[in-house]
Amino acid sequence: MGVLIDKNTKVVVQGITGGEGAFHTERMLEYGTRIVAGVTPGKGGTECKKVPVFNSVESAVKETAADTSVIFVPPHFATDAIYEAAYAGIKLIVCITEGIPALDMMRVKQQLKSMGVRLIGPNCPGIITPGQCKIGIMPSEIHNPGRIGIVSRSGTLTYEVIHQVTAVNMGQSTAIGIGGDPIPGMDFVDCLELFQKDSETDAVIMIGEIGGNSEEKAADYVKNNMTKPVIGFVAGKTAPPGKRMGHAGAIISGGQGTAADKISKMKKAGIIVVENLGFVGKTLVNTLEQ
């Protein structure tokens, strides 16, 4: 079953006629995702990849009953696109766009919270429930339906881990990329909570990185609320302080947010922390055999 999305999820693609939007719409359709509408202001009434295009999310929702949106618009329009989806009644928004100003995200997050709307991302690969629904840009081939929940701040690093899970003949219930921004929509705790409740998830792999304190908060949550095993990895042990490592959120500032601190807090909370990325698959097998 997985969490948040399944084969019944009805998706609207915001920015469907752009290069990225059109390309990934095709990939998602190939995977079997029910894409019911696209939105590009000014192109309403046309079609893109055989999907009807609307001028606004509101009209798309009205005509197609879309309940989930994925955003591919450039950063200076993305904040607006998120609000538009929320005001149109969309309850889950997946924002792929990288480069949204942090203060915009601060305001967006507060607004969405008051409306009961969930946001995945921005600056993320998206979410996939293998075999049922893919909303995002991740390569389909590496995934396999199964019972392991994945939550991560990174893109290709997640693919690496998913690849290992699939290689040891296991699969994923749902994999969620929460993105590499300093203020993300859903965070580790939100996702862990969903996986803990999900009857189809047996264990969770959480992939963190330097910067912020979301791994520390997740550790607290795991310690107090989780009965399912959690395997963790934190990237950036060798990252120098004060330098932004690609992701806007991956920066050690004022001695805060180091990998060592996160790993120690996670271990204390009972999370099985893998030091060598190459051993995530093996660790998963060993953990579930016990």
Binding site: F23, R27, P75, G99, I100, P101, A102, L103, D104, M106, R107, K109, Q110, I137, P139, E141, I142, S152, R153, S154, G155, T156, L157, T158, Y159, E160, H163, G180, P182, I183, I207, E209, I210, G211, G212, N213, F233, A235, G236, K237, T238, A239, P240, G242, K243, R244, M245, G246, H247, A248, G249, A250, G254, G255, A259, E275, N276, L277, G278, F279
Partner: protein
């Protein structure tokens, strides 16, 4: 993005925060002229401050107080062109190209601290104020956290009067000084929001003998993601403050950070790039850099990335780790083969491909005739690169 102190002071002045008049100089000649004018206008003491993107300039010899033109000349001669070295700059230090010349006779009664930062935990701008200014605020935070008052501001009502009163009270200010402090806090908050700052700091915020407040030092960091609505702020970037290779990489939309080791890394994706560095270190090696070639690793991006890696003379082996997704590994392999030919690869190269069409990609690499090593896993690839980097 970091900016210089004088740029930060100019931004603050625009938001009603009191700063001193100053002159900026990048040569002996203009520096002496500026100092002469300031002395002639009646100033008794001047401060000459090195403009580099680093704190702790005083202890590193980058700030001088001068009482006459002869002293000013000596100080300018010493500071302009010096390499300022401290913990923040790293061992290579930062070349001082500009100095700020400012009145040094402000009549300091007390040194305070005022700052604002986007707090990732609370997801709010948080204003910090302390009556113990002039020292490293991180040290105060560690040794005496009670000395720092904080206020988290909800962006929707914005900064409220009662919050300002709380902060000024914590600074121990009354009367005119308290009114002046409210303007400082209001100005800081407005600037933070309107200019999309990630951090702003006044340390010290000085209370003068005559009861006025002045921002003696200023620091502002800007959110680069918001430059689309602040084209003027983008101009404040000083590429001299970044390493040449980092500037080169950013011109090609590559994310590159220079590190101290000898194994050059090229990876797609920031998280995987960090994990690759970590794996090298786990096997006893040292990464020479962080380099994320981004989602679409093709011949052009790989070629440019190779050039940047090889321009770093400390690199003794190169490790390429690509996880193919939407971009297929056979195409990436083709890009690597072409790029390695284009740039005359003169150092050992280890390539690991995984994901979509990895097997086909590895076959292409093996058949290419290039002298490179391939590895099936990241762990193996890292081990191999570490061995090659020490001449094994």
């Amino acid at each position: 993005m970091k900016i210089h102190e004088y740029q930060a002071q100019e931004l603050m002045r625009n938001f009603g925060i009191p700063v001193l008049d100053f002159e900026i100089s990048d040569s002996m000649k203009s520096g002496i002229t500026a100092a002469d004018q300031l002395f002639s206008s009646g100033k008794k003491k001047l401060v000459i401050k090195a403009q580099v993107h680093a704190g702790g300039r005083g202890k590193a010899g980058g700030i001088a107080v001068v009482k006459n033109l002869i002293e000013a000349e000596k100080a300018l001669d010493r500071i302009l062109g010096m390499r300022l070295v401290n913990r923040q700059t790293g061992p290579e230090g930062k070349l001082v190209r500009k100095v700020m010349i400012v009145d040094g006779d402000t009549g300091i009664e007390r040194e305070l601290y005022a700052g604002i930062v986007l707090d990732r935990d609370r997801e709010r701008p948080v204003i910090l104020a302390s009556a113990e200014g002039g020292v490293d605020i991180e040290e105060t935070a560690a040794s005496n956290p009670d000395a720092i008052a904080t206020v988290a501001v909800d962006p929707f009502p914005g900064l409220l009067m009662f919050q300002i009163r709380y902060l000024t009270e914590k600074l121990g200010l009354t009367g005119d000084a308290a009114r002046s402090a409210s303007r400082v806090f209001k100005g800081l908050y407005d600037m933070f929001i309107k200019l999309d700052c990630s951090q702003a700091e006044i340390n010290p915020l000085v209370l003068t003998h005559d009861g006025n407040l002045v921002a003696l030092d200023a620091k502002v960091n800007l959110d680069e993601s918001a430059f689309f609505r602040h084209p003027d702020l983008k101009e404040l970037r000083d590429t001299h403050e970044e390493s040449e290779l980092e500037v080169w990489a950013s011109e090609n939309s590559l994310n590159y950070v220079k590190l101290d080791g000898n194994i050059g890394c090229m990876v797609n994706g920031a998280g995987l790039a960090m994990a690759t560095m970590d794996t090298i270190s786990l096997h006893g090696g040292m990464p020479a850099n962080f380099l994320d070639v981004g989602g679409g690793a093709n011949r052009e991006t790989v070629t440019e990335a190779f050039k940047i890696l090889l321009a770093d003379k400390s690199v003794e082996a190169v490790l390429v780790n690509i996880f193919g997704g939407i971009v297929r590994c056979d195409r990436v392999a083709d890009g690597i083969i072409q790029a390695a030919k284009d740039v005359h690869m003169d150092r050992p190269l280890v390539v690991r491909l995984a994901g979509t069409n990895a097997v086909e990609g590895m076959e292409l690499l093996k058949k290419s005739g290039l002298s490179l090593k391939t590895a099936d896993s990241l762990d193996e690839a890292a081990k191999c690169a570490v061995k090659l980097a020490i001449g094994g």
